[in-house]
Point group: C2
Chain length 440, copies 2
């Protein structure tokens, strides 16, 4: 029953032992799905198989029976465990031939880097007889395109290399131009990001907006303190913009002021935007996050106009020496305390001023990320976050204690995000807004 | 043909619009696969479907026809788009009942946090009649276990919540005890991590070790400069340890000194281990990575004994003020230059000393992460990395220019990893070893 060809639909196949063994995360399926959805193509399935010629060939044929577009990634490398070329040939019932043009392109790739082509890479110039090779500007693995006929229907099958920096431009160059707009209209999506409320509370605020049969349909997903409200419209192209805009307004009204942005906007880019709007700058003082807050902020291109930098004060000596935290305070209250968090934030404002990179805001984080280091009073997951803001006059300080669930990585990420949320809410003048995990 | 039940095999199903739309990365399939592989269970498939009751039910039945163990994650939340409970009931041909014990557990969860259960969460106490509910210590969503009969064969079907911090302990508690050791022996894996050589060169060095029909079978996977050599043994339990150890020795000999560790060891943990062995400490000075190097190092629990912290000198003023980089040098050579990288590293050693947190090594990174900011001489991806080491006597300096391919995120990650690799190779006394992306 599931083997009917679905028009205007696509299936994504990921190939690799490392995926099926769980050693590598599959980011390609998500990326391809996001791009295809934007382009109005419905995804019917993701599947993953290992580096086994039969498994790949049989998955290609099964998926070609379900969707008119199949995109496979991986298994095009230069080593003998890269079997996608042969599997596609088997699925087509053909042999492999060497593609002279592709061989030259691979040789050129190496020549441009001042080395000769290793003999292994010659494998990458092979293609099934009826397939065409797709050039790869970022690497040595050409992609492949072929038409697979299954039960009289025919599917476009694209095999692209696994490394995302090679796969992505090849998708844009070779796959995108072949997509027809869907017959029944378009699928349009928008994601409203919120931070600081539990998913169930967001759902209660959204209420009837989440009813399953509405169009746009609205759903939520939670991940480490961020709850995304996903809006998906299916219908006539000319109604899409207005329907999405209306739904976005309703969602934002329901979840305000926890909504920080739409689609690609991250809490970091939203925070930087508010700093830019205010014409103010930020420095950070990080203990348990070890640079993670700075890394998230600088993930956003062009952040240097409002983010000066900061201090990673992982060892206590750095807290004392670089930020001037008082030694007796640190001894008496411990590194994870309100007093030390505030001293770090104030110290960062002062040190930035002294360094000639003055900032209006400092965010300081000190906590027990775990798994070790916790005590009864300060269990793993306990984090103090302080914001110090100097906008002329007295320095305004906001320090809060949090208890974050989960593993070390989750606690660290949550800490960095929560610090940004504290600053963003202050910048938009939201007043005292409690954030998820906040104690007292 | 693919619908035969495979004994001692498992299939993994991920459920969620956010996955099929590509808005969220599926980490659960990889984690479950890694755990199951370690436990000797063969994975036959990963599949992903959206929050659609029919799609979930039909995937559950299809996979139960292929493997005796099906693990599904997601769709157990408290909102109306969480449909796994109903889909499992449909797949079983049963109705849903409220589980009194689970309802009490959910109420208790909220009571322990000082709040009342939102009415939405009551949904989570529902289960198919013949299913049993599985307690969740980390959250409100109970899991479900049922036996699905397909064509006379029967599969154990576990539905676990999507959030990893809830799913993982529930897997250990409820699924693991039900796995029988495989009849034909065990699957044992080891991954040797290497950093700094291209995948094809690693493959050439491995040569015949990678032949497809050997046991253990050895394969490679590349990701951002790291090439993992995966060793997988299938056979009698008593032969596994020796076979794996032998293969590991052969792999390491072939790829030395680029091999940094096995299995869970990361380049960061390997670097920290060498520092610990030498009894030395590290500080960092980060420009284009913005804290990412510190964040990677402190991802490793217990890093504070050898990692003091550092300076995020994103704005040029911070390079001058906090690290004492010379203004005229910065003007004349630009922030992305050998001179500034060296001055940052030397400055970090000096500033750490002054702060009372002396270190023997400093790593400095300054580059053009892109997408903007590149010039003809210094295109996006150009990064200078300097190591300054003070082990008494003159300070030893090693500065290198790199050109890293890919997007901003890839360049930043590669920069941080390459800095660690430079230090690790120096600490093990590997001599001058060229690293991937190094210019000249």
């Amino acid at each position: 029953m599931a083997d009917r060809l679905i028009h205007d639909a696509a299936a994504v196949l990921s190939i690799g032992d490392e995926l099926i063994l769980g050693q590598t995360l599959d980011t390609n399926s998500a990326w391809l799905s996001a791009r295809l959805t934007e382009l109005g193509v419905r995804i019917v399935e993701h599947a993953t198989v290992d580096d086994d010629c039969e498994a790949i060939a049989s998955a290609l044929r099964r998926l070609a029976g379900r969707a008119r577009l199949v995109i496979a990634t991986g298994g095009l490398g230069p080593t003998i465990d890269d079997l996608t070329r042969r599997a596609l040939a088997d699925a087509l019932g053909e042999g492999l031939v060497e593609d002279g043009q592709m061989l030259s392109a691979i040789r050129l790739y190496f020549a441009a880097r001042g080395t000769e082509m290793p003999e292994n890479n010659r494998l990458q110039a092979l293609r099934p007889e009826s397939a065409s090779a797709l050039g790869n500007a970022q690497g040595t693995a050409p992609g492949l395109h072929a038409r697979l006929e299954i039960d009289g229907a025919s599917a476009d099958c694209f095999c692209l290399p696994g490394p995302p920096n090679e796969m992505r431009p090849m998708f844009e160059q070779f796959v995108m131009p072949r997509l027809n707009p869907p017959a029944g209209g378009v699928i349009r999506t928008r994601v409203i990001g919120t931070f600081g409320l539990p998913e169930a509370t967001i759902a209660e605020r959204l209420g009837e907006l989440m009813a399953r049969l509405r169009n746009p349909v609205i759903g939520t997903t939670a991940s480490g303190g961020t709850v995304s409200c996903r809006i998906r419209f299916t219908g006539a192209a000319e109604e899409a913009d207005e329907a999405i805009a209306q739904a976005e307004r309703a969602v934002r009204e329901a979840v305000s002021p926890y909504d920080f942005g739409a689609d690609d906007e991250t809490l970091a880019s939203a925070t930087l935007k508010e700093l830019r709007r205010a014409g103010e700058r930020l420095v950070v003082a990080e203990s348990c996050t070890g640079g993670g807050l700075g890394a998230l902020l600088t993930d956003v291109p062009g952040s240097s106009d409002v983010f000066c930098g900061g201090w990673i004060t992982y060892a206590d000596a750095m807290k004392l020496g670089a930020l001037g935290v008082d030694k007796s305070t640190l001894r008496a209250r411990g590194a994870v305390s309100e007093e030390v968090a505030i001293a770090m934030a104030r110290g960062a404002l002062r040190a930035a001023e002294e360094a000639g990179a003055p900032a209006q805001h400092a965010l300081a984080i000190t906590g027990v990320a775990g798994p070790g280091g916790g005590t009864k009073d300060k269990p793993a997951g306990t984090v103090w976050i302080a914001r110090a803001s100097d906008r002329g006059g007295e320095i305004e300080v906001d320090a809060r204690r949090f208890l974050f669930p989960g593993e070390r990585r989750a606690v660290r990420l949550r800490s960095a995000l929560t610090a940004m949320a504290m600053l963003r809410l202050a910048l938009i003048g939201a007043g005292p807004v409690k954030l998820l995990g906040q104690q007292g």
